[in-house]
């Protein structure tokens, strides 16, 4: 017995791995002896589509310079391995959309805990809109970290990289502390949108929610956000802060 090659998760199949159809002797679900006539009738849930909309953050944001409403949602529709994924994140202040990122992606499972995502991203809000092609990976890293990393290619040679991560720390079965971080980097400056090249902004937050049910959980939290490099310069030129502490109160829900 070869114990040296032990690996319980993932990895490529060895060349001598068993053929899962080896016992079929050429028969299929639709054909062969005693098959019912016509197309296959028995379809179980592995061939059905499911879907969900998660509002991970729907919150009121309180800062020294004023208040805003922020949202961060992800919806999916499809099967176990291939899904249509929608992501939407943005801020609304004084009735005006300040900043919004909306993505439409094809999510495809490539490993036990990882999906690739391919699609488009549209930025809107202050400044001209930007459209990007998006290539990313989303999943669950060891030790239960939710990770989302996406690279973007836009017009005029623009590139961007967005990394975000979340963790769910169960204090009790219903009281859950959610640390969250996010980093945005850009390949070249985009003055019209106030973005410099390199590390543009980063945020790290802690949200404490109570799950009245799995699907409905109000929370309070605090988030530290910063702008860096040229992006910070642009912000200072506009008279904005480059570091701020935000207090948030909101609700996490899905259906």
């Amino acid at each position: 017995m070869d114990h040296g090659s032990m690996n319980m998760q993932g990895g490529p199949a060895p060349a001598d791995a068993r053929d899962p159809h080896a016992y079929s002797n050429g028969l299929t679900l639709e054909s062969g002896p005693y098959a019912l006539p016509g197309p296959r009738q028995l379809r179980l849930s592995d061939e059905h589509a499911f879907g969900s909309v998660l509002l991970d953050r729907l919150e009121r944001v309180y800062t020294k310079d004023g208040n805003a409403t922020a949202y961060d949602a992800q919806a999916w529709f499809g099967g176990t391995y291939d899904r249509l994924v929608l992501k939407a994140e943005g801020d609304v202040a004084k009735g005006k959309l300040e900043e919004a990122r909306t993505e439409v992606l094809w999510g495809h499972a490539i490993a036990s805990y990882w999906d690739t995502q391919l699609g488009v991203r549209q930025d809107s809000g202050t400044g001209p809109d930007r459209t990007w092609l998006a290539v990313g990976i989303q999943g669950l890293a060891p030790y239960w970290f939710d990770v989302d990393a996406t690279a973007y290619v836009g017009g005029a040679g623009r590139t961007a990289l967005r990394l975000s991560g979340e963790y769910e720390l169960l204090l009790t079965q219903r009281l859950i502390l959610q640390p969250r971080m996010e980093v945005n980097l850009y390949g070249r400056r985009d003055e019209a949108r106030g973005l410099g090249s390199g590390l543009a902004d980063a945020a790290a937050g802690l949200r404490l929610r109570y799950e009245f049910s799995r699907q409905f959980a109000p929370y309070v939290g605090v988030e530290w956000a910063g702008k860096f490099g040229q992006t910070a310069d642009f912000a200072r030129a506009e008279g904005q802060r480059t570091r701020e502490t935000r207090y948030v109160a909101g609700v996490r829900l899905w259906f």
């Binding site: 690996n7 998760q9 009738q41 879907g51 969900s52 176990t80 030790y143």
Partner: protein
């Protein structure tokens, strides 16, 4: 059914129940009013529970329809057979040819599968495999000859109808005197009920697979462990699970957070009662007709002598407790002498229980035990025969060379047996070489076990060393030995697989829709090895043919129709392919079956 599963549901603003519902005392029963009057008054009769009517003879009519129930305080519609939960107990006689007409008064197709009964495949009742199903308004006539005796059951094999009430006992009485003598004879059918739409339950698990698990490791548990065992051991206890993204409390997909546990269709508060006179031998025919629940059954104060398993008589073995999963049956004999005893059936995940009473008269009850503590799965449940203690505390990456380690006996033993095979040919003993399928190396699985446990004397998580004598597969010996004295001509190895995070279940990493049938040559004797690459116990039910479980040494143990395979365990059994046709083979946890842990078997 349309390909689109709806996911519209009002947001549940009501807190999920922390404790399981013990239910209404009345359950679905409405006493004092003729069902026909009620039907006239309300359009529908309430579902009868607690005392399934008994139907016998060779001509039986069953009607499938919706009928109201109220187990929790919230009225719901159930799918019932002849208006009762459980469905009527069919008392049939060995050797008889029975004609059972099933009329469908639902708005969707239905079916009835006779679980464990050996019959022609066209009568097996799996829509899309054995027949077309029973469309609304139509009657299907089942006809088959009873070639066997014992305790069995029947249930819908369509959609989620089994979860919503379509299950009943089927007893085949021997033509000659029953070798199992008893003064009283009760069916004790356990099941589970949810007020939710079962499809909605599945859709929720698809979004969040731990939705119903309120026994998850928390920070508070961690600090308690730090206090009890020190920081380093508390971290060790969690390292492997967290690194692998597996949950040590993942014992059941559904829990008391949504389920109400029923005994003969009666809630724990309703307290189903079976009467006896002190000193009588009472036969209890336990049937697990639940859709999703493994039960741990005991009767405090009484020894239970197990005399039958899956309808087949076994050499009597006396125990305090047994675990059984959906699809399995055990007949036990008890000899009560006191006034009252509680029949206590706690769910494997310890989130609730079904309960009834054996008593000398109605209205009595005995103490109801507390639920046993929740136990985390162990390394043996995750990794099989590997000896965790010998591995030390650091397990960097799970990829290290283990040649110098002590593997708790089993895996190595087998390697040696395979080499020193004494009795007969290469097929005398089940192969110990693990052969994962190519399709297990992808997103459909979350783990693979390279060194499975093959010992059958493990009662399983939550029952080990609990101070009670708990039945295991290794205790069972079918009287009379195997039906077919031949050894296996070949081996079929199938792996039970899944990915909890994605909530998908499969065999060899392939869900039903991507699978091809397993072909058996008519008349051949074949060995099947089921190898569990998941952390859950799966009750695997092969239709149409018996599964003759053997020891790791290839010695016959017990004839079954449903075989529970524990986490990281490898169980082998022999099958004689003597039943032409197409048959279903699946995990009897309904949601696992529905997510694709299902194969077609073709015998030709």
């Amino acid at each position: 059914m349309p390909p689109l599963r709806p996911f519209h549901s009002p947001l549940p603003l009501v807190p999920a129940r922390r404790r399981f519902v013990r239910g209404l005392v009345a359950g679905g029963v409405m006493i004092g009013l003729s069902p026909w009057l009620r039907a006239a008054a309300q359009g529908l009769a309430d579902t009868r529970t607690g005392a399934a009517p008994v139907l016998s003879g060779t001509n039986i009519d069953l009607v499938v329809a919706e009928s109201p129930v109220n187990f929790t305080g919230t009225p719901r519609m159930a799918t019932t057979i002849n208006g009762s939960i459980p469905a009527p107990t069919l008392k049939l006689r060995e050797g008889d040819t029975v004609t059972i007409r099933v009329t469908n008064r639902l708005r969707e197709a239905t079916s009835i599968h006779w679980h464990g009964i050996i019959l022609p495949y066209q009568m097996d009742g799996v829509p899309g495999i054995s027949f077309q199903g029973i469309p609304p308004g139509e009657t299907f006539t089942y006809q088959f000859r009873l070639e066997q005796t014992g305790t069995y059951w029947y249930h819908s094999h369509s959609g989620m109808q089994e979860q919503t009430g379509m299950y009943g006992a089927l007893i085949v009485e021997p033509r000659e005197a029953d070798p199992i003598r008893a003064d009283r004879d009760y069916v004790v059918q356990l099941s589970d009920w949810t007020d939710e739409d079962p499809m909605r339950v599945l859709a929720k698990l698809k979004v969040q697979s731990d939705y119903y698990n309120y026994h998850q490791p928390t920070a508070i548990d961690f600090f308690r462990d730090v206090a009890d065992m020190g920081l380093s051991r508390a971290l060790d206890k969690r390292a492997m699970w967290n690194q692998m993204r597996m949950n040590p409390t993942d014992l059941a997909d559904l829990s008391g957070a949504t389920l109400t546990y029923l005994m003969n269709g009666v809630t724990p508060a309703g307290n189903w009662t079976g009467l006896f006179r002190p000193g009588e031998r009472v036969r209890l025919r336990f049937i697990n007709g639940a859709a999703n629940t493994f039960y741990d059954v005991r009767i405090p104060g009484l020894k239970m002598t197990v005399v039958q398993s899956d309808g087949q008589n076994v050499e009597p073995v006396t125990v305090d407790e047994f675990r059984f999963g959906p699809g399995e049956t055990y007949d036990v004999i008890v000899t009560p002498r006191e006034d009252a005893y509680t029949i206590f059936a706690q769910s494997m995940d310890r989130t609730g229980f079904a309960r009834g009473t054996l008593a000398v008269r109605e209205g009595l009850s005995a103490a109801v035990p507390a639920l046993d503590p929740v136990e985390w799965l162990t390394m043996a449940d995750m990794m099989g025969a590997m000896d965790h203690a010998a591995m030390g505390h650091d397990m960097p990456g799970m990829k290290h060379d283990m040649s110098g380690m002590n593997h708790g006996a089993m895996a190595m033993d087998h390697g040696q047996h395979a080499m020193h095979g004494m009795t007969g040919g290469a097929m005398a003993k089940p192969s110990a070489t693990v052969r994962h399928a190519r399709t297990e190396y992808g997103p459909s699985t979350d783990m693979r076990v390279d060194m499975p446990r093959t010992n059958l004397d493990d009662p399983g998580i939550g029952l080990r060393n609990n101070g009670r004598r708990v039945l295991t597969l290794a205790d069972l010996r079918t009287i009379g030995g195997p039906l077919d004295p031949r050894g296996a001509e070949r081996e079929i190895e199938l792996h039970l697989t899944g990915n909890m995070e994605r909530y998908t279940w499969s065999l060899d990493g392939l869900e039903f829709g991507k699978s091809t049938p397993v072909h058996l040559k008519y008349g051949e004797r074949v060995r099947v090895i089921l190898h569990n690459d998941t952390m859950m116990t799966h009750p695997m039910h092969l239709h149409g043919m018996w599964s003759e479980v053997e020891t790791p040494d290839g010695q016959f143990l017990v004839r079954r129709h449903t075989i529970p395979v524990q986490p990281a365990q490898r169980v082998s059994f022999l099958v004689t392919a003597d039943a032409l046709g197409r048959w279903a083979w699946h995990c009897h946890l309904m949601l696992h079956m529905d997510m694709g842990m299902f194969r077609v078997v073709v015998v030709s």
